[in-house]
């Protein structure tokens, strides 16, 4: 009888642990297993990526449509090349879409915003977005502002 209470208790503990782990994975860290395999890759070159990191979100009109999977330096053009994975169901991005590095809020993280263009042809796996706009770097901005003041 005593053994039975113990076994039930231990079973409950194990169950609670398993549930908690699932909650941690899905609800708290937002891990979704489908993300890893699906989607198609799109590349974009930026002159300056600022504080962009892998796993940053890729959004259109603020809605997430994918994430940054890799960032490397392009040795030929000497600019940053960003690889992102776009969800399969978002297959209507025209080839003349533009990509922009944006910041969510004042202290928020940086992400890539995609603005669709007008072409009929859509981006395919391995395509490159030509029209890009780099991250806003505060120091550059201040520098420009001061330069303008002086030249006035």
């Amino acid at each position: 009888m005593r053994m039975r209470t113990m076994e039930i208790g231990v079973g409950f503990l194990m169950l609670a642990g398993a549930v908690a782990l699932v909650v941690l994975a899905l609800n708290i860290s937002g891990l979704s297993l489908a993300d890893q395999s699906g989607g198609y890759r799109v590349y974009a070159r930026f002159e300056n990526i600022g504080g962009l990191t892998t796993r940053a979100k890729v959004a259109m009109s603020g809605v997430q449509i994918g994430e940054v999977t890799a960032i490397r330096l392009d040795p030929k053009f000497l600019v940053a090349e960003v690889e992102m994975r776009i969800r399969d169901d978002v297959d209507y991005l025209s080839t003349d879409s533009s990509a922009q590095i944006l910041t969510s809020g004042l202290l928020g993280e940086q992400y890539i915003g995609i603005t669709p263009g007008a072409e009929d042809e859509n981006l395919m796996d391995g395509d490159r977005i030509q029209d890009t706009q780099s991250a806003l770097v505060l120091e550059d901005l201040i520098g420009k502002f001061l330069f303008n003041k002086v030249s006035e």
Partner: protein, 260 residues
């Protein structure tokens, strides 16, 4: 002066010897041929005492710590207009640091001291010697199930602590302070990485579980078998395992998150 150096050397040697005995104990009780069929009921029993009975204190502390984090995070972040980030602050600090460390400290106080006292008492009442005379290895019968129970329980308790803590933080931030719950959860989900943060936190708790239980069973097994000796051993368990947890936490954090 020479006396002082001698005392120093003496205490260093006895510490070293204790460490050696502790290692020997661990080796013997783990390598001791496993007997799964007799071991299993004993393990369940110990999981109950060590894990299930620690559940209440873990859930209550987790809830309160999460709520405090939510409140503190809000008052700090609201100055910068980034109060939506309170979700990620609560979740990250819990998952990475507070859950493994606080759970391990509470565990040392709740379960570790109980383990030491129990084993110490078994030694003082000659139950361990009696097992030996019956021809049963007390390391296998008494030490091994307790060690494994602690080793298994602590990570489970840590995960539960994290979840309850985040939930407590959400209650304060979303329900009381009125942060939009969509941005609370979305910010959190975006910044918490399962492998980087959650798994590293669990790895920490596994290390802590092994160390805390190791210290607890060793202090019990190695204690002077008198009431005074048991109380001293219990104190030592709490002190040593707390220090070990905090020290190891720094090392593990440096290895996992620092560029070491």
């Amino acid at each position: 002066m020479l006396d002082w150096i001698q005392t120093l050397g003496e205490s260093a040697l006895s510490r070293l010897a204790a460490f050696g005995r502790a290692g020997q104990l661990l080796m013997q009780s783990l390598i001791a041929r496993p007997a799964p069929f007799t071991m299993f009921p004993l393990l369940v029993q110990q999981l109950y005492f060590v894990g299930v009975l620690s559940l209440v204190i873990i859930v209550v502390s987790g809830g309160f710590i999460g709520m405090v984090l939510g409140l503190q995070g809000y008052t700090i972040l609201v100055d910068y207009g980034s109060e939506q980030a309170v979700g990620q602050m609560v979740a990250l600090s819990l998952v990475r640091e507070l859950a493994p460390v606080v759970t391990a400290l509470l565990f040392a106080g709740r379960a570790g001291s109980a383990l030491t006292a129990e084993i110490g008492l078994m030694k003082a009442t000659e139950q361990l010697a009696s097992l030996e005379m019956i021809g049963v290895d007390p390391l296998r019968r008494v030490i091994a199930p307790r060690f494994w129970a602690g080793f298994i329980s602590l990570p489970i308790l840590t995960v539960i602590f994290s979840v309850v803590g985040v939930w407590g933080g959400a209650i304060v931030a979303v329900d009381w302070l009125g942060i939009y719950d969509g941005s609370f959860w979305a910010n959190m989900q975006h910044s918490v990485d399962f492998y980087e943060d959650v798994l590293n936190g669990i790895i920490k708790s596994i290390v802590f579980g092994a160390v805390v239980t190791w210290i607890a069973v060793f202090e019990g097994y190695d204690c002077v078998p008198t009431s005074e000796g048991i109380s001293q051993a219990t104190t030592r368990t709490v002190v040593f395992s707390s220090l070990a947890v905090l020290g190891l936490d720094f090392i593990l954090t440096a290895l996992m998150f620092g560029e070491l």
